[in-house]
Point group: C2
């Protein structure tokens, strides 16, 4: 940790970045550091490997970022946020490897490649990298930050803890939430910006996706599917599936959920969630995808139609469930 | 406030109660006071006017309550929680009115009938009555309570603030959440107990309720409805409507939502939610109900059918919206 502080103190120009398709935590951590380091007189820039999740686009109104277009600016220090696998910086990797300047991480994921980094502000116990970014700012003496930084930290914390309801919502998370609210963050406004920007067609999209729900294995396994035809028949939309998965997983009996959606080009994508025992990462890997133990996904070959995809999903799910 | 403390201190036998179909905040406030007053050596009993929302039944495992069956026990003091309209105590009202013992309220709703009460621990700024119950316990010197009390306060706080995402989620709410977590409350476990115990038919119930959704006033006003026939045709269930309301309110354009459901005896109930400007308490009052500015509800006369109820709801909603 002290090495991270020293590296920052001795650097004038700092490039902040994060993993591909930056989420709330990845962007939040970078934004906190952007303001903290700027306040220290550093020349700071945020450069993302590609477009972030559009849900978080509102953060750009108060903090500038650039999308990598093949060229990296000069820097004394690179800080990767919410990501300690260099490969997850995408197209930036070859350019970064050409540079001799030091690289550090601010991250809460399990450290996969420690040798890549000259320093790490790293703690797997932190519920979000955004928490670490605030703690690093405090350590650097950047105590008073603009509201934009606190809002970004709040986005980081709340999106990575499922708005303080996942099992990583510990004392430190709640204390950090209070700390940020005390500095002016309006919880309801941030919730609105992150989660209440849906299209008119979304409720009908959710309804369509919940209609073809079937329970298997005594109700422990739930499989639902929705086609583009079904969606568009009611002017429904469903560009992400989180709330449908959440509703099905909230059924007391259900251990694991699969939801199959047809994407634009007719390709079928399946998303998995589980509660406590089933490793859906293993399930998804058997269909060519992957993810985490409780949240994973996969895409079928374009030639695979919905009935076949549903059958294959169910077969793999039941098979993995039987071995638990 | 001081009168409330004096009344409690001078009473030996205390009866706690709350509004009909007790919700998380109503039960939570009573449970906090049950443990705080018991710790002070009072003889305490919780008596509910009828069955609480079944979602909160798990709280009874650690704190006993009784359902009113026509007879009230003897008491020196009655404390109504989360409710300052005597009428909302249902069948208990005539029995209470026969007694000369003092009555007080612990509540955060707008005070409708102050003359009913001998004392009030009342603060409309509090996001939940559960917050007031903890503050009253602190004032009474009952600083260290069993985990069951802190869990109940957490249920009260989190359910009344929509898990810290509604506009009443202020600094005091976040500080209280931290305070409770510091005393041992496991946020994720409570979330599971409150929100992930749904029946198999719930996803289909949600789908049914989202199907008859119509937007009005350029998409600012959304009205949805579901009948028992529609629900049972698909084996759907929908004993509470929070997630349906949340899904519709998450549409960017929507300012206010009304959801009409047919209850067991064919009576239609309407629930309202709004985002930022429309006072749905005023809307609900015009249909004989009430609640808060951003969350309210009402029940129609039994003779009113769904089409008429929908029409009346829409008329009042549009009328109130037009005056904003």
């Amino acid at each position: 940790m002290q090495q991270a502080v020293s590296l920052i103190k001795s650097s004038s120009t700092i490039l902040l970045t994060g993993h591909l398709r930056a989420d709330g935590d990845c962007l939040g951590a970078q934004i906190v550091l952007y303001h903290a380091l700027s306040a220290m007189g550093k020349e700071v820039q945020i450069m993302l490997p590609n477009l972030p999740d559009q849900r978080y686009g509102f953060l750009e109104q108060k903090t500038p970022w650039k999308i990598f277009d093949g060229e990296l600016p000069e820097y004394d220090l690179l800080i990767a946020c919410d990501c300690n696998e260099l490969g997850r910086l995408g197209g930036m990797v070859p350019e970064i490897l050409k540079r001799s300047q030091p690289k550090m991480v601010v991250d809460h994921h399990i450290m996969m490649t420690p040798d890549t980094w000259d320093a790490a502000f790293h703690d797997v116990e932190a519920a979000a990298s955004g928490i670490l970014a605030i703690e690093l700012a405090q350590l650097l003496g950047a105590e008073s930050l603009p509201l934009a930084a606190y809002e970004a930290a709040f986005v980081a914390l709340m999106t990575d803890t499922g708005w303080l309801k996942y099992s990583n919502s510990d004392q430190r998370s709640f204390d950090m939430a209070s700390y940020l609210v005390a500095r002016g963050v309006d919880s309801s406004r941030i919730y609105d910006l992150v989660y209440q920007q849906l299209e008119d067609g979304r409720p009908l999209g959710v309804a369509a996706a919940l209609q073809n729900l079937q329970y298997h294995a005594d109700g422990k396994i739930a499989v639902a599917w929705v086609t583009n035809d079904l969606l568009t028949a009611g002017n429904g939309s469903l560009d992400d599936t989180d709330e449908v998965l959440d509703i099905i997983r909230a059924v007391a009996n259900v251990e694991a959920v699969a939801l199959l959606c047809e994407r634009d080009a007719g390709q079928i994508k399946v998303s998995f969630r589980s509660k406590t025992i089933l490793d859906v990462n293993k399930v998804a890997r058997r269909i060519g995808g992957g993810g985490h133990a409780r949240a994973a996904g996969a895409s079928f070959e374009r030639s695979v139609g919905m009935p076949e995809a549903v059958a294959q999903t169910l077969e793999v799910l039941l098979d993995e469930f039987a071995t638990q």
